[in-house]
Amino acid sequence: MIDQIETGARVNQEAKRGWVLVSVPLFYTILLMAAPLTAIFVFSFWSQDFLTLDTTMTLKNYREAFSEPLYAELLSRSIGIAGAVTLVTVVLAFPVAYFVSFHVAPERKSLWLFLITIPFWTSYLLRIFLWKVILGFNGVLNTSLQGIGFIEEPLTFILYNANAVVITLAHAFAPFAILPIFVALEKIDRSLLEAARDLGENAVMTFVRVTLPLAMPGVVAATLIVFIPTVGDYVTPRLVGGPNGLMIANMIQTQFLRLNNAPMGAALAVIAMTTVTVMALLLLAATRKWMRGGGR
């Protein structure tokens, strides 16, 4: 009986200590995440009547968002660009992660990872401007290629369009993709690869049947880490995207800041967030088979 009371008291004590520990992060999560999200959600059901905010609940914004083809086009373009960025980033990140995990001596791995993160020491904006310098009409790439006589006229498909957005974002997110894939590859027991060889498979089939499936948790993580923020990116499309490289986030920004139509912007933001969430969940559901075994 006394034991029970004491145990109960201790559990209570531990619970209290737990609350104290989480209270600070909980506070700023509510302040900086939950509160703004709720505000956006509520805003999306209000409407803007020229200069006054009409706070009667309505689905008007959503109706407009789904009937106006421009919004759908912007959203699908955002998803298309983010998808391309994700594909390019993950496909290029995999060999890098594989090389560092399998072919770099253990004592040099942290040096390599450190070098991979070096681009992050420069500001995000600076890097975008550097890409403008590289990809521009009279940029580094064009003048070099012209200089060696590879092309006659400067290439124009590499700046102020969707391609430029893909190139810039793929570079920016490369380390985010490399690191989770690297971690997944590091976790693979090397004797599994020897076992596959021992059971008659060559190097390529060993990769296909063992390495790749076991690296899938890392690939899925990399995909989500790159895809989710790129869908909502608006700085890169604004600076290097030109008129045809603009994305849904640019429209949301425009609605909030230029058109003074916060409810419409909020509705677009909710639609974009929901779309991304659904896509992420679909991806997770589709890859559950690999996540289970490999994550062990």
């Binding site: 027991d189 004797s191 599994l192 020897e194 076992a195 596959a196 060889r197 021992d198 059971l199 008659g200 498979e201 060559n202 089939m205 049947r209 063992v210 499936p213 076991l214 088979k289 690999w290 289970r292 075994g293 490999g294 062990r296």
Partner: protein, 358 residues
């Protein structure tokens, strides 16, 4: 004709000489063990047979064909890894059938083969289980089935039992033995456990520092060790200092002994005299010594009681350290205590004189 022949094999890792002039032959259907302490090169040798390491010089043949430059996936060997290396993203059946991808069997025949392999290792009906839901013993069985389903000429086992608890290990020892007789495949086992090697093997190669110290069937290994290092590694042996001139041996605590030639190992002079615990007996009141044996007086310094037997550490008068004597605990026989006087009967024909280590 031997199935595997290893000739003058050396392996260097930079400055480190991992294998030094290894020569051995393993016959068809033999249960062969590589035994030695960790770092003696036994696993390296196994991996050169499997094809995971290439030799620095020398020749490795399997079934008469040279294996130099032949990758692991093209060798007629399969391996059971120390960690079992069960693919965590596959079911038990997928693991067992992993190596059948390129075989000419139809899907149904493959499923039958997987079922038979699982039955052989006692895992009937486990096919659909997820690999990561298995216990250690079950993983080991899956690893065995996965290797044996390919009917290799040689099955290589890298410390397969070291991760199991004692009961499970003993059970798997006899099961492996039974399985090997049943399939008739040559097994090569790497182990650091001398008892395991003695129990399971037809022949054992004892390795130290990259060299084979002795290659013999278990009884010869135990009764006629090639040198003191082997004698110390296999079973329990007590060493007393002695001095040998020709066939005359003077042992501290035991006196003069005349040796037969097969009791002499190495040079004369200051020698180490080896005694096995079972070659000595403590004389209880009701017992009389054999006429050929001799009796020495001593005191029990320590003992370990095992239930069926007791290991005594007895200090003989004039000996610098105690000798280990094992006694069966027969009904009615007392167990001595520390400090008790003990008369130790020993057989002069059972001791071995090891010359200075060369």
């Amino acid at each position: 004709m031997s199935l595997i022949s290893i000739e003058n094999v050396h392996k260097h890792y930079g400055d480190y000489h991992a294998l030094r002039d290894i020569n051995l032959e393993v016959g068809q259907g033999e249960f062969f063990s590589l035994l030695g302490p960790s770092g003696c090169g036994k696993t390296t040798l196994l991996r050169t047979i499997a094809g995971f390491e290439d030799v620095s010089s020398g020749q490795v043949r399997i079934g008469g064909a040279s294996m130099i430059g032949v990758p692991a996936n093209q060798r007629p060997t399969n391996m059971v890894f120390q960690s079992y290396a069960i693919f965590p993203h596959m079911s038990v059946a997928e693991n067992v059938g992993f190596g059948l991808r390129k075989s000419s069997l139809s899907g149904a025949e493959k499923a039958t083969a997987v079922g038979e392999a699982l039955e052989m290792v006692g895992l009937n009906g486990f096919g659909a289980r997820a690999a990561h839901a298995l216990s250690g013993g079950q993983r080991q069985r899956v690893a065995l089935a996965r290797a044996l389903i390919l009917k290799p000429k040689v099955l290589l086992l890298d410390e397969p039992l070291s991760a199991l608890d004692k009961k499970m290990r003993e059970q798997m020892q006899s099961e492996l033995r039974r399985l090997q007789r049943q399939v008739g495949i040559t097994f090569i086992l790497v182990t650091h456990d001398q008892e395991e090697a003695l129990i399971m093997s037809d022949r054992i190669a004892v390795m130290f520092d990259g060299k084979i110290a002795q290659l013999d069937p278990p009884p010869q290994l135990y009764t006629r060790p090639a040198n003191r290092q082997v004698a110390e590694f296999i079973g329990v042996m007590t060493f007393l200092p002695g001095n040998r001139r020709a066939d005359t041996l003077e042992v501290a605590g035991l006196g003069h002994v005349t040796l037969s030639p097969d009791q002499i190992i190495g040079a004369e002079g200051d020698v180490r005299v080896g005694l096995r615990p079972e070659s000595m007996t403590i004389l209880f009141d009701d017992m009389a010594a054999e006429p050929s044996n001799r009796v020495a007086q001593g005191t029990v310094e320590d003992l370990a009681y095992y239930g069926d037997m007791t290991m005594y550490e007895v200090r003989l008068a004039g000996a610098p350290r105690p000798v280990t004597v094992s006694m069966r605990n027969l009904p009615g026989r007392p167990v001595l205590a520390r400090g008790d006087a003990a008369r130790v009967v020993w057989d002069p024909a059972a001791l071995m004189a090891f010359g200075p280590v060369d």
